[in-house]
Point group: C2
């Protein structure tokens, strides 16, 4: 269960502080939830994707305008949008030769707003 049988590192097989460790164990979510959580944060952990989310927070936008706003090529934006779509962060609507993207989840905006509070320290 505990890796590192190497030269340095801990040898003791049990926890130093059993009570705290038990509490901590309970605080760690199930693997599936954990994966989803970290993936959601990872999506917002990229500056380009974060900008895309912010740009879409007001209205839907086409890929070209999105590219202009975030300062990326349309190709790069399109690649990111595909990932974000797969992660249920955005949806799209087709109209002629254009594709309009919009946020798929209102929670995302709350998440960014709360994150901003942390940054403001």
């Amino acid at each position: 269960m505990r890796p590192n049988g190497g030269i340095g590192g801990r040898v003791t097989p049990e926890f130093v502080d059993r009570r705290h460790a038990e509490d901590a164990r309970k605080a760690i979510h199930a693997p599936a939830v954990l994966r989803g959580l970290s993936q959601t944060f990872k999506m917002l952990g990229d500056e380009s994707r974060l900008k895309i989310c912010l740009a879409l927070s007001r209205h839907e936008l086409c890929v070209g305008d999105l590219a202009g706003l975030v300062g990326l090529s349309e190709s790069a934006v399109s690649h990111q949008l595909r990932i974000m779509k797969a992660m249920r962060l955005v949806t799209y609507r087709k109209e002629g030769k254009m594709t309009f993207y919009m946020l798929d989840d209102e929670h995302i905006e709350d998440l960014i707003r709360l994150g901003a509070k942390h940054v403001a320290e």
Copy 2:
């Protein structure tokens, strides 16, 4: 300002939807805030770091116990803790040969809790 002068891609120099683009521009934070935001999310975007944050949400813990809880070597945990310390996510307290780490910011827990809501869909 808009990259991609290549073969494919948009040629139009202006925004298709000027109103929406203006609104979107306002919604995108200043570069410094943006960087801080994405870095904060990136910290939580790694499953190991996320587990460490969750484990520390109840009590302080020493490196060895932390390693046991998240299923990593102490070396790996120590490396992560160094990064998290630099990002002001955790602080530490030394006691003899042990080092006890704790969360440095109560906002982080709120952020994770809100993220969990998104995952629950």
